[in-house]
């Protein structure tokens, strides 16, 4: 039950993009069409679940053990960078189909603040491994949901007759603010 509340809360109530403001760059940059939104969303899910669990293991079994907790920012960013690089090489060699779908998004993921942010939040909230994995899954699902919703809206915005000043980024921010308001409506469900 607690696990369910965590997952539901992370997807809807404190959505990672619309309430916590992590991963705004890909949210603005890769939401032009649904196809790339789905690709980016799935890649982020895959990497976030792996990186969160590995960072949790690194923190618990290496940093805490040797009293190096203060190095967690450096340790985590290096872990994530190495993981993404390894993943890219592994997929390229062994699962070319998946590499074709995710390849272009993988390098972008290293500097996605959502990945590092969730890894750090898991430690800050003192989650155990199961909660860490659940939280990573829920946050990345929330990211994917927001990204795909935004891409769906933007595909229709292409045909809309907008004032010149609103074209491009400004209207995307206004759409995002309406989405954020709509998500506020989920507050109080748990």
């Amino acid at each position: 039950m607690e696990l369910f509340a965590l997952i539901f809360g992370s997807i809807f109530i404190s959505n990672i993009v619309l309430a916590q403001f992590l991963g705004i760059c890909p949210f603005l940059g890769l939401s032009k069409d649904i196809k790339s939104a789905v690709g980016m969303g799935l890649s982020v899910m895959f990497v976030m679940i792996m990186s969160s669990s590995i960072c949790w293991l690194v923190y618990t079994f290496l940093l805490v053990r040797f009293g190096l907790e203060y190095l967690k920012t450096i340790a985590f960013i290096l872990t994530i960078a190495a993981l993404v690089q390894l993943l890219e090489m592994f997929l390229k060699k062994n699962v070319p189909a998946l590499y074709k779908a995710m390849g272009v998004y993988l390098p972008l993921i290293t500097t996605n603040c959502a990945i590092l942010g969730v890894a750090l939040l898991n430690i800050q909230e003192d989650y155990n491994l199961i909660f860490t994995i659940a939280n990573a899954f829920a946050n990345s699902a929330g990211f994917t949901l927001a990204l795909i919703l935004m891409a769906g809206i933007r595909e229709r915005l292409d045909d809309a007759d907008l004032p010149d000043a609103m074209k491009g980024l400004p209207i995307v921010f206004f759409v995002a603010s309406s989405m954020a308001l709509a998500f506020v409506g989920f507050t109080g469900m748990i």
């Binding site: 619309l18 916590q20 403001f21 203060y70 800050q124 000043a165 400004p170 921010f173 309406s178 954020a180």
Partner: protein, 203 residues
């Protein structure tokens, strides 16, 4: 003379937030009050100046194949230092900025300056560049925070300026408010650029 130019370009002509659209995450998240935005701006500028300096000193020693990981290590070290300093001397600010202090590591402005400027230029211009970009970024987030705090709470730096009759627009403090503020500011930028382009045509 040239140093001055490196410094001023970051403030308006190449403003990291409004012109390059980099580092949007903290600009949305920490701008609920001017105080937070100032704190974030100072921390950000400190990290950027230090990392620019060290990266420019190391530029001949680091092989170009592994430059990105080494930049990240340099930046992450300075972020960790700033994090500890803030935790010790400004615990209230540290608590309210929360996760966004360690996340300066993945702020694309810093890595972007390392790659575009500090990795290719000597130490002094790199410091000027970092300082200019830092001040530009700070001004940008303080501008956003001023709009949000004045409209959303009726205060500026915690001091009431709109009087007790003002009914605060709570939405400006909510996440939605930051998106609205950014939307208007970027729309304003669009209009400004268009006017400038038209003036050039007439001339």
């Amino acid at each position: 003379m040239k140093l001055g130019k490196e410094f001023t370009k970051g403030i308006i002509a190449e403003n990291p937030l409004f012109v390059q659209v980099l580092g949007t995450c903290p600009s949305l998240a920490v701008t609920t009050s001017v105080n937070n935005a100032l704190g974030m701006g100072v921390a950000f500028t400190a990290v950027l100046v230090c990392s620019n300096l060290v990266i420019s000193l190391l530029r001949k020693a680091v092989p170009s194949d592994i430059r990105i990981p080494s930049y990240i290590v340099v930046i992450a070290s300075f972020v960790t230092m700033i994090e500890m300093i803030m935790n010790a001397f400004a615990p209230a600010l540290y608590a309210s900025l929360g996760i966004f202090i360690p996340l300066i590591v993945v702020n694309c402005v810093i890595l972007g300056r390392a790659e575009a400027f500090a990795g290719k230029n000597p130490a002094l211009p790199s410091i000027a560049d970092g300082l200019g970009m830092g001040v530009g970024y700070t001004l940008a987030i303080v501008a956003i925070a001023s709009i949000r705090e004045v409209l959303g709470a009726g205060t500026f730096l915690g001091i009431s300026i709109l009087g007790s009759a003002y009914q605060p627009a709570l939405i400006m403090i909510l996440p939605a408010g930051s998106f609205i503020t950014m939307g208007f500011l970027f729309a304003g930028m669009n209009i400004y650029n268009r006017r400038k382009a038209m003036k050039k045509e007439v001339m």
